[in-house]
Each structure stands twice: as C-alpha cells, then as structure tokens.
Symmetry: D3
Subunit: 247 residues, 6 copies
Amino acid sequence: MTSSLPQGVTRPSGRAPDQLREVRIERGYTRHAEGSVLVSFGDTRVLCTASVDNKVPAFLRGKGEGWVTAEYGMLPRATNTRSDREAARGKQGGRTLEIQRLIGRSLRACVDRKLLGERTITLDCDVLQADGGTRTAAITGAYVALVDAVRWLQSRKEITRDPIFGAVAAVSVGVYRGVPVLDLDYAEDSDCDTDMNVVMNDGGGFIEVQGTAEGHAFRREELQAMTALAETGIARLVDMQRAALAG
Amino acid sequence: MTSSLPQGVTRPSGRAPDQLREVRIERGYTRHAEGSVLVSFGDTRVLCTASVDNKVPAFLRGKGEGWVTAEYGMLPRATNTRSDREAARGKQGGRTLEIQRLIGRSLRACVDRKLLGERTITLDCDVLQADGGTRTAAITGAYVALVDAVRWLQSRKEITRDPIFGAVAAVSVGVYRGVPVLDLDYAEDSDCDTDMNVVMNDGGGFIEVQGTAEGHAFRREELQAMTALAETGIARLVDMQRAALAG
Amino acid sequence: MTSSLPQGVTRPSGRAPDQLREVRIERGYTRHAEGSVLVSFGDTRVLCTASVDNKVPAFLRGKGEGWVTAEYGMLPRATNTRSDREAARGKQGGRTLEIQRLIGRSLRACVDRKLLGERTITLDCDVLQADGGTRTAAITGAYVALVDAVRWLQSRKEITRDPIFGAVAAVSVGVYRGVPVLDLDYAEDSDCDTDMNVVMNDGGGFIEVQGTAEGHAFRREELQAMTALAETGIARLVDMQRAALAG
Amino acid sequence: MTSSLPQGVTRPSGRAPDQLREVRIERGYTRHAEGSVLVSFGDTRVLCTASVDNKVPAFLRGKGEGWVTAEYGMLPRATNTRSDREAARGKQGGRTLEIQRLIGRSLRACVDRKLLGERTITLDCDVLQADGGTRTAAITGAYVALVDAVRWLQSRKEITRDPIFGAVAAVSVGVYRGVPVLDLDYAEDSDCDTDMNVVMNDGGGFIEVQGTAEGHAFRREELQAMTALAETGIARLVDMQRAALAG
Amino acid sequence: MTSSLPQGVTRPSGRAPDQLREVRIERGYTRHAEGSVLVSFGDTRVLCTASVDNKVPAFLRGKGEGWVTAEYGMLPRATNTRSDREAARGKQGGRTLEIQRLIGRSLRACVDRKLLGERTITLDCDVLQADGGTRTAAITGAYVALVDAVRWLQSRKEITRDPIFGAVAAVSVGVYRGVPVLDLDYAEDSDCDTDMNVVMNDGGGFIEVQGTAEGHAFRREELQAMTALAETGIARLVDMQRAALAG
Amino acid sequence: MTSSLPQGVTRPSGRAPDQLREVRIERGYTRHAEGSVLVSFGDTRVLCTASVDNKVPAFLRGKGEGWVTAEYGMLPRATNTRSDREAARGKQGGRTLEIQRLIGRSLRACVDRKLLGERTITLDCDVLQADGGTRTAAITGAYVALVDAVRWLQSRKEITRDPIFGAVAAVSVGVYRGVPVLDLDYAEDSDCDTDMNVVMNDGGGFIEVQGTAEGHAFRREELQAMTALAETGIARLVDMQRAALAG
C-alpha cells in the first residue's frame, strides 16, 4: 500500500505519508534484566527492560494472578532542551504518569495473568533520546522485552504455559496539512493539527486509541483515515517484532 | 434516533442503548466563584467552578495570551469505598493528573487565548458523588462555568470581544455485550468490553477520543459505531448547555 | 434569651448578638457513605460524610477498641479568592491539620471506643462554601453523620450497644466592638477583636475552648461572657441535631 | 498565695496545686543567634533562638511592616520513646504545625510590626528534653530571645523605637482529681481530665486560651478556676522574664 | 609531639598546627535516652543520643543480627546565618544524608552485630552550635553514647557479651598555607586548601578517609602528612573517650 | 609497570592487580546535548551529557562567574536486582546525592568559573548498566562531555578563552585478600576489605580521596599502596580521555 501527499506538500521528514521511520529492535541491550531491548523509531531511542519479581501488589495478593506494569522516564537531556530530573523535583509529572499507565494497560492486554502466576513483570521504558513517538516506541519495544522475560521464566521451568497471547505494538498518526501521515517525528508532531496514538494487537484489534486535536477539531473521516493508516503501520511493526524475536 | 439492544439483553441501568442519564446543569451553585456549576449525569455529581486570576503561568508571561487550566478532585467518599485523600497522601494520583490534563486541553480547544488577554481561568472540578463518567460530566459542566466567568469579565468590561468560540461537551460510550451504548454508569462501565471518552465541539468536530479495550480488543466497526453514538449524545448535551446558559 | 448591642452598634450581619445564622442539617446528601450530612451555618456549607472501615490504626490493633478520626478539606474556590489545592501543593497546611485534629478529638469525646469495636469511623468534612465558622459547622454536622453511621452498623447487627453517649456541637463566639456575639460570619470574624471556638456536649460540659486575641488581649470577663453565649448557642444546635436525627 | 489539694490527694510531682516547676531562663546559650535562650520548666528544656532577617514574606512585601514567626521542633530523643525525625519523614506533623502557629501568634501579640520595619524575626524553639509543657516553655523563652534580638537591632541603630510592648508568657493548667493545678509535667498531663494552655500578657490580658477535655468534659467553674490559676502562674513567669532580661 | 607553622604563619585560631581545640564529653546530658552525650570541639557542640529499639530494619529481619544507624541534624540557627529547617523544607539535604551515612558506617565498624542481637541502636547527632568539624565531633561523641547504650543493655541483662570492640573517633585535618593542621574550626576550614575527615579506631586502623581539595589539588606528601597528623589527634581523642567513660 | 597477586590468589575478574578493565569513551552518543559521552569501564556503562544553560543558580547571580554541577541517576534495572525508580519514590537517595555532589566538586576542580561566564553546565550521569565503579566512570566520562560542551561554546564564539585547565579522571582501588587492586568490578567490590575512590588531575594532584573500610580497618601502608595504584590508573585514564578528545 502506498499513498502520497497532495501536489507540493512534503512531510518535514521527507517520508511518504504512510512510511515508518527506520525501526530497530535490539534485544539483550543490557545484561542484568530478564528482557532488555533498545528500540529505535528513527532518532527516538528507548531502552525497555523487563524485570521479574516473585511478588504481586497488595490488591492481588493471594488471588493466584500475576501483574504487568510499566514505568516511564526520560533522561534529562533526551530532548533538545534539558528538562528537570523528576527524581530531583520529587515527583513524576502528569505526562509521565499518563504514559506509563498507557504502556502498562497496553501490555496487560496480551497477557493471561492467571498463567503468569503470582509474579510481577515491570517494564521500565527509559528514553535515551527523544524525537517524537516515545510512547509508541516504548510499547513496541516493551512487548519484545516482555516476551524475553517470559521465555526466561519458561527456560527455568517457573511457568509451563505461555501467558502471552498475540502481540502488541503501537504507532502515532496525525493529520499534516490535511493529509493523514504515519509515525510522526518531533518536527511533524509540532506542526500537525491532530495527533493520535494507536495501540493494536496482531489480530487487528484496537487496544487503545487516543486522539487529540491540536489545532482545530478533526472530522469523522479524518479519524477513520488515521486509524486505517495506523493499522498498516502496526502490521509492519508486528512483523519486525516477530523478526527480532526469531533472531 | 433510537436503537435497541438484542433480544434479551438489557443494560444494567435499563436505559436504551443511546439514552443519556438524566442530566442537570445548575448554575450559581456556590457564591464566590466567577462561574459555579453543579452538573449531574444521573448520580454522578461534579461541582465545577471557574476562577479568574489576572496572571498567567511563567511560560506565557509577556506574550499577551491567556491560559485556561483545570484541576480535578474527588471527595474521599464520593465513591462506594472511601479512597485516601490526595492532600493527605501528599500527591495527586496518575488518574487525577490524566483527567485534569484532559479537561484543560478540552476547554482550551474553544478559547481564543489572545482575546482572553493575560489572565488565567482555572476550572476546579470536584466530584461530590461518583457513578461513572465523572470526567465527561466535568468537561460538560466546566464549559458552562467557563462561559459564566467570561460573561463576568465582559460585564466588568475587562474584555470586550468574547474569547469563546463554539461549545465543548463530552460523553462516554462503550460496548456492552456486543452493543454500543451511551453514557455508561459505574455498573455498566465495570461490565463493558470497551470504554471510550469522546470530547466534541458544537460543530461536530472531535477534540479528544480516548478508547480503551477493557476485555478484548475492539474492531474498527465498533470504533465507528461508538463515535457515531457519541456524536448524537454530545449534540444533545450541547443543547442542554445552551438551555442552561439561556436560563 | 435576648441580648442587644449598644446603642448605634450593628453587627455586619444585622443579627442580634446572640442570634445564630440559619442552620440547616440535611441527612443523606450523598449516597455512598454510611452517614452523609450537608450542614449549613448561613452561607457556610460543609459536606460531612462518615465512612466505616473494619480496621483500626496500627497503634490500636488488637486492643478491642475502635477509632474515630476526621479529615478536613476546603474546595479551592470555597472562598472569595481561590486558594491552592492542597493535593496539588503536595501537603496539607497547618490550618487544615489543626482543624481536623480538633474535629477528631471533639467527636471522640462522645464515643465509647470499646463499644465501637475494632473499626474506624472517618469523618470527612469538606467545605463547599466558606463564610466563617467552617470548623464549628463541621463538628456540628459530623456528629449527625457519625450517628447515622452507627445506626447503619446497628441495623446490620454489627454492633449491639450504642457507642455514642450524648451529643457534641460547636459554635464560634467573639467580641465585636466590645459586645460578645455568637456565630461569626466571615465579615464579622475579620472585624472582631477576639475569636473563640467552643465545643460542648449536650450536658453543658466543655470539650474544647480555643480563644485567640486578634486585636488586643481579652479580659477575664469577656472570656466568661463568650463562654456563656456559646452555651446558649450550642444548646440550640443540639436541639437541631436531635430534630434532624428524628426526621 | 497558696492552695492545697483535698485531704489525701497528692500531685505526682509532689508540688502544691499552684506551684510552678523550677524555671530557669539562660540567655546567650548559643553564640550565633541574635537572641538565644535555654528555658527550663523543670525537666522540660527548650532552646529558643531569635534570628533577624532583612526580608519579609511575600504577602507583606512593600507594606513597611515586619513579621514575627516561629518554628518548633523536638529532637527525636527528647521524649521517653524515640520519635521519627520529621526531616527524615519528609514533613512536619500536625502537632508541630499547631504549636509553631501558636507560638508565632502569641509573640506577634506584643510586637508593633510597623516599628519593626521590613524585617522578619524567626523564633526557633527546639525541645532538647521534654517533660510536659513544651509549648508554654517555648513561648516564655522565645519572648526573652525576641527581646534580645530587638535589643541587638537597637544597638546597631537599625531601629530606634522599641517595637515590643509588654511581655508575653504562657503556662499550662489542668484539673487533677478534681483540683485545678498549675504547670503540668508529663506524668500529670497524662493523668489529668483537662489540659489547658494559656498565654497572657503582662497586663493580665488573655492572648490564647486552649482547653481540651481529656477524660470528661469540664464545667464552667473549672474553666474559671483554671484561668485564675494561670493568671497567677503567668504573673510569676513575667517576673522571671524581667529578672532574666535585667541580668 | 609538637610541630610549628613556618615563620610568620599563624592559624586563625592561634593554635599550634597539631593542637586540638578544647574537647569536652559530657555524659548523661539528657535524661530519656539510653546514651546521651554532649560533645564539644571548641565552639562546636553536638548532642549525641543513643536509642535502643528491639527491632531491626526489614532487610535484617530474622537474621539474628542487629543494626547501628545514625541521623544527623543541625538546628536552624546553629550556624552564623539561619538555614532552613529541613523538616519544613520536606527533605534532608545531600550534606545531611552524606554525614549521617558516614556516622553510621563509622560506628558499625566497631560493633559485632551478631552479639548485639536483633535490635537497632540509633545515634541521633544534633548540632546545637557549629564551628567546623561537626561530623568528626559527632562520631567521637556518638561512640560514647553508643557505649552507654550497650552498658544499659548489659545492666538489664538483655545482652551478656559486649558487642563493641575497640573505640572509634574522628578528626579533621587540612593544609593551611602549606602547613598541615589539625582539627579545623570554621574560619580555618573556609581558608584551607584541603579538608580531610579521618575516622580511625583505637588500634590505629583507618575506617574512613575523606579528603577534598578545596583550592588546588594536594600532593601525595600532603596526604601522608595529614593522615599522620590525624593519627596523633585521634589517639588523644580516644584517650578522652576512655576518660569520659571511666568517669 | 606491573604487579602480581600472591601465589594462588586470583582476582575474581582474572585481571592483574594493576590492570584496568577495558575502557571505552564514545563521544556524540546522543544528539541533543552539547556534550554526550557513553563511557564504559568493562560492563559499567554510564551516559554522561553536558547541558549548557545561560543562567546560574541564585547564589551566583550577578557575580560574573559560572557554575558546573552534576546529577546522577541509575536506571532501575541497571543492577542485578531492580531498584525502585527514585522519581517514583519521590526523592533521591543518600547514595545518589553523595555521588552527584562528588562528581560536581570533582569537575569544578578543573574549571575557571570566571572564564566560563554566567552560565551553568550540568553534567547528567545516568548509569545504563552497573558493574562497580559507576561514580569513577561517571567522573571520567563527564570530563570529556564537559570539554565537548566548552568547545561548542567556543565554536559559537560565546566564550573565547578556554575555562578548563588540565584534566580530571577517577578510579577505584581496593585491597583484595591483602593485595591492593585497581578498578574494582562489582564482584570484587563486594569481596574487598577496603574500597577507595580517587579523583586526580593530569598533574598528579589529588582532588578527592574517599576510602572506606568494609571489613576491617586499613593500615597506613595500605592507604599509600592504594593511592599509588590509583595514580598509575588515572594516568592511563587521562591518556584515554586525550585520545578520545583528539578523535
């Protein structure tokens, strides 16, 4: 599938409207974690580690179920201008909390928590370098780290049946000068009328859709075009996850 | 427009799929604020006040623009089980921050901040009683409080041209046993496969769309049916806002 | 009993020196709490809810005694000028802590904690609108919510003997231009030389007396006149509590 | 003046009902502060320092007035059982805030803030050893430190007219087995039915009266007897302050 | 042993290069703690209390070992300029945490934690007056308080064998105008090129060495001269600790 | 220079006593920062970025001097066991504060802050993977990032004269089974009797020396042997810094 911008309109990145940035998924990036993935969507680079803990939060204790959760952070100079270190400020900002809640919910959507048993897998997604789309890169990479952590549990015979069903990936879409475009980098995101983050599974089902009108409100047709574009992008990301996991 | 549930399926609330709860919008609920609205969506009751301050946040100082922001809170016993008071815990939770960011963004979408001038309008949305849909009720009520605050500014000749264009309202939609339904109460929300909050303006444009798969992922068709349902619900809410403001 | 101001002196509210504001006590104001009372002393409106929890704080565990405690909050725009939200600031101020400690102590003075058993009743007193005397209104309303919560426990046969003995109510008194006056509203409080909050039981005993010289120090005679005035006011408040509970 | 306990009743301390503990007021206890006083009420020892700063809080800036404020702290092992260090816990408790607000209000009652000019005097009251009555000892000692700080300002010709009028001192009173007693130590405080802290000036005027029923409610007669006892105790404390300042 | 400054160089304090300030160690300074020592190094005065608690931190539970830890604080006006109260600021600063970690490590170096059994001894070191060297005075005094607390445990037969082996003391050294000097006061510390804190035991072994170049980097020879000087100073401090404990 | 372990003693890493781990210094690791260096000491990897800000902290404003400061963080799963995220816990731990204070002091030792002018350079040192010696790797890498940031300032003609004099590097040394060894990895650090961090400049001067007895106290001879070993290690590190900066 291909699409094109209207005569004379060029994306700041020079990409075709439905073109992803170069995506790389490096497994085993650090050594201690049960899963450790450096995911890059162009210049956006996120280190996603999966840590297994044989405990569950208080609200799940004794229920025979596991938990999957995420934390998100941005190194102070991941961005163009240095931002305050949240640890030094003494609290995580609203944006951080919002993103880590999104990552956690998205990944829980592909886990059978009964099969996981009473253990917690924490996905730490730390942005080393930001250029737009950090949350969608984080979800896409964290899925691979999660699979690695589950494989580690299986290799040690701690669990027998695979608690993960399907795959989960995410991408952003937007409307740039009237044209729906895929996988916005920072420059494009800043210049778009609408920004939408879409999380889907490998069966084509939607897990999260979060669209925000930046400039003016968007129409039903734009919503549909953006979700269609997200579908094609996520299908390709799922293929890359599979390739990385087969590697 | 009417719709119906499949043979034998009844919403917990007994409502038709496209039926809103009883909505009430009471202006002037408290006396000190420039705008003060008690909004009820059924048993959900949110007190929305608008406060005018002749200052703007640091990042806007000297730019000749105003700011519109929101804070959200829930009284500890607004819910069935008492939750900890955020002031006592020493921080606002992620859900709170997420909601108040949503309310602020939604309302800024109908304000010309240049016309507002260098002042801030803060919308405090405090949930007195919760029964599902507190954030959509808050947005719907806060819009009315915002208009009242702007009228107050106009009545004092502090601003001449109205900085508000159009209206903003919000509603939740979901898929209950396969059927898209409008304006979920708490019992329905807990039992739905998908929960989506939609914010729109009075011109039929989307401002925010936030859909989350609770049970299993949702399909493109469900997404479209839910947004269509939201459109009809929000059109009716905008009518009620107008009626309240005319009152 | 009547009293009067010296020739030519009028209270800002126009009330007689020993006249309470209009007091209303509405039970069942919200639906989830075991006790829920909206109390109004004139324009001061406080929502008091009582929540039952089958646990006690650590220092009481295993002692066979219950606990009664209070939390106090003020909606940001309950007052004439918006005050910062304590949850957003990250801590409760000294005034808030002082008031909630006072409310808790006052209500514990009428509870046999052995009879309550190992459970905690939390009184949340949230000021929807402030016009002076919020702490005394809170105590007066919280007592009614507490009784309702205890009745709820009795109706479920969780406790058999009533742990509440007597009644507790509170009122403020002050000295306005040399004359002791009852139940100060905000305008009067700001203009008084002395402000005193008095908590009493229905047997005429004092539970708390907190007097503060605002302008100049007060004399022994003024202290006596103020406490006498408080006695008459509280007797009337206790009657209103009884009437509300009989309703 | 003497008084006595009923036949067979003895205060735990063995003192007569109207007898203060041994009071010592040592000026110049530490070297850096503009005023530094170690005050002892028996085994209660509080270090009170007065620090002068040529700034005022934001709410007073440009008004030509000064400010007097207090902070209170207790060393972790000032008490029989070690309590957590508030700095380590990350916040001051309600009791601490309540006491430091009381100390600040009490001392402001004897200061003409216009004459003080745009400067702040902070009274730090740190309890080295606690045996009941720490807040009343703190007020009594802080007054002396405040006078020393003002004298220091005068000696440097920073102010010409003395902004302090009169003196302020404080003492606790209670009802022990039916008898009003003066200046409770910890053992007596724990065993009293009523505990009252009284702050007065040297003219016999009341600045603060804070009485709390610990066991059962107290009667009007008891309130009067306690305030009368406080009057005699404070008169003696004011004499000791004068003697210390003359030293 | 004596040493001297080069012709024409005088320490600000007038002391010989290897001369300690006057050191005093007063046991039993406050009454509640199991060990309570006021230690003075000249005008630096630190109150060190030792508190015994029959619990250990979570990471040691059930291991049959005890714990020794320290907390450090400075009264706001211990210094020439008032510093903010850490409890009011809501956190302990980096310097405070660094010092209390040092004190804890230093004292654990002379304790057999198995012999101590499952209990914690907390050393609270609160600076009443600061004139340089507060951390070294704190370590030297806290050792004595620790011994007193252990003796208290032994006197109650809670432990039989003494868990303390040897003694621990500390002193600062520096290089002043090219000459190594012992036990810097504040004026000297501010004017030194190098500042080093040394903790040793009574067997001449080093427990901590922390040297910092203030002005220019220091040479190997200076490091050796400073450590030699520290050895002689600490030997004298250990003698004073012994004398105090024999008293 | 070579040295060897006693017959039959082998370092856990198999290295010779005076052998550094493989050190890599990669400049330009991320794209936004004025200096960005990934430094590796074996498996320890620290990302050091230098950020230039045209402001100074309040205590330096208007003095015509710049500031150099550091912040340190560890990704939650940089270590073998996941540690809590400091941003989520709401504060930086004592170890973090201690390390970042050390890094800042060390780098300020080679900067002429007058020549830097009124700007701040912040060195963010974030540990991606930890295997002992993170603080010494951080200092060594941060120096290179600092030089890059200064070159960036020079290339933009914002400063003319180079404010950096000399070089700063750091290494750890310890005593393993009686033998002084260089550059401890985590396994060695855990098994050493003494651990010392040394910061030096390229002229052979000491900037910081921090030695801690882990097991038993160390002797003067050991201290000298360790500092001698550090000298040789740091000389090699300074060579590598030069080579990297020449690259």
